[in-house]
């Protein structure tokens, strides 16, 4: 805990978000997520109207939204598993990381089951590598991932058609918010970086942010 308490350096989420790759890389990621028209970029999916949605690449309607969330939960689960294995954390910090990782794994299971229940095909687990240099940088990355994850769910809430899918997404969304607040606390950051009203993130922003961690 002592190590973590010393971490007062602000995390630059914007700097992190600015690291986004080219649209080609995003298209490759989308292809890896089960899309069979990998040459299309998110730009097309971003266009509203005409029935297109931001998550269309992941499937139609709620299935697409669930598969988008599933992809993010896979990344979070893999990240925490790698962090646990890294040996960078001990004691209470390790337990927190382990607990969060278990909860993300439960989200993966629930989302996979929900996609199947809706008659869809669950998105495949993306291959990812995370920089695990030291405890500080790992916590910063965890904070970024959790804040982004919460914002990603918030960005999709109003697009969900089915009330029970929405109920499930909301039940996960607030847990991501809790995780984010804990990491922000450990990092000496505000627990509510957006103020009294959390801000959503759109699909393009989220995919650009996670793209640096995806491997072929």
């Amino acid at each position: 805990m002592a190590d973590i308490k010393q971490l007062k350096d602000p995390v630059s989420r914007r700097r992190f978000l600015a690291v986004g790759g080219s649209t080609t890389a995003v298209a490759a990621f989308l292809a890896a997520c089960g899309d069979d028209s990998g040459t299309t970029t998110t730009t097309d999916a971003m266009k509203s109207g005409g029935g297109a949605s931001e998550t269309a690449k992941f499937g139609k309607g709620d299935i697409g939204i669930l598969n988008y969330a599933l992809t993010l939960e896979y990344l979070e689960t893999a990240f925490y598993a790698d962090v646990v294995k890294s040996g960078l954390f001990k004691g209470a910090d390790l337990e927190t990381i382990r607990k969060f990782g278990q909860e993300e794994a439960e989200h993966v299971q629930a989302l996979t089951a929900a996609v199947k229940q809706l008659g869809g095909k669950p998105a495949p687990e993306p291959k990812a590598e995370f920089p695990l240099e030291n405890a500080k940088s790992v916590l910063e990355l965890a904070g970024t991932v959790e804040n982004l994850g919460a914002a990603a769910y918030l960005g999709q809430a109003a697009n969900i058609q089915s009330p029970e899918v929405l109920a499930s997404a909301l039940a996960i969304h607030s847990v991501e918010g809790r995780h984010a607040a804990v990491l922000n606390t450990l990092l000496g950051e505000s627990i509510t970086p957006d103020g009294a009203f959390a801000k959503p993130a759109d699909v393009k922003t989220v995919l650009k942010s996670v793209e640096p961690f995806l491997v072929e």
Binding site: S174, G177, T192
Partner: protein
């Protein structure tokens, strides 16, 4: 349900509803199986019951219900600045949360008016605690209840804009809940899913604090 309430203010929340709309509830019944996929089949019936419990109130009714909870939290934290004698890190947290809850109150009042509704009157509250620990225990209850209340109400909201706004609030409530739980040395995110509470359950939880 109303006759069980000793508090006219909260009863008014339920009486002052718009026309019923059971379409969401109908869909929920049909989709109960899908909920089972997420929570396990044992969760399906309470899930459906919770959903239907609020399906008659309309967006204004739901917003007024949320407003009552935000009045409670806002008053609670405003009082706590003096009564709970917070210092240091906790003082900063109490100040932050008090400000957030007051902003939620203002936003909900404005949204209700925008939808042509009338914001519910603010009830009088009485919070019984004598020290910082007592304050923190109550705070944890209120924040966790607030998260579950919004999560329970979310699927009943008809307007996408209102839903998005409520989502922005509930995430902040969840962040508060985690921070308060850290102060209490409790698990900040005790479960992988923040289960929803229905209106009746929430009213039961907050009723003891309404004068």
């Amino acid at each position: 349900m109303n006759e069980q309430l000793k508090t006219p203010e909260l009863a008014a929340v339920e009486v002052d509803v718009e026309g019923g709309d059971l379409s969401r509830g109908d869909v929920i019944l049909k989709g109960a199986l899908a909920a089972g996929a997420i929570y396990g089949s044992a969760m399906v019936s309470p899930f459906v019951r919770k959903a239907l419990a609020m399906s008659e109130s309309g967006d204004v009714g739901i917003l007024n219900f949320a407003l009552t909870l935000e009045y409670l939290e806002s008053t609670f934290y405003a009082e706590a600045k003096k009564r709970a004698k917070p210092s240091g890190e906790l003082k900063a947290l109490v100040d932050l949360i008090a400000s957030d809850e007051q902003q939620h109150v203002e936003a909900l009042e404005a949204t209700i008016k925008k939808l042509g509704g009338k914001p519910v009157a603010e009830p009088k509250f009485n919070f019984e605690y004598n020290d910082t620990a007592g304050f923190l225990k109550l705070a944890q209850t209120f924040e966790d209840t607030g998260v579950s209340a919004y999560n329970g109400a979310g699927p009943m909201i008809k307007s996408k804009e209102v839903l998005a706004a409520a989502g922005g609030i509930v995430q902040v409530e969840a962040r508060h809940a985690a921070a308060i739980r850290l102060q209490n040395k409790e698990e900040p995110a005790p479960a992988a899913f923040d289960s929803p509470l229905d209106e009746k359950q929430v009213l039961k939880a907050v009723e003891p604090f309404i004068v």
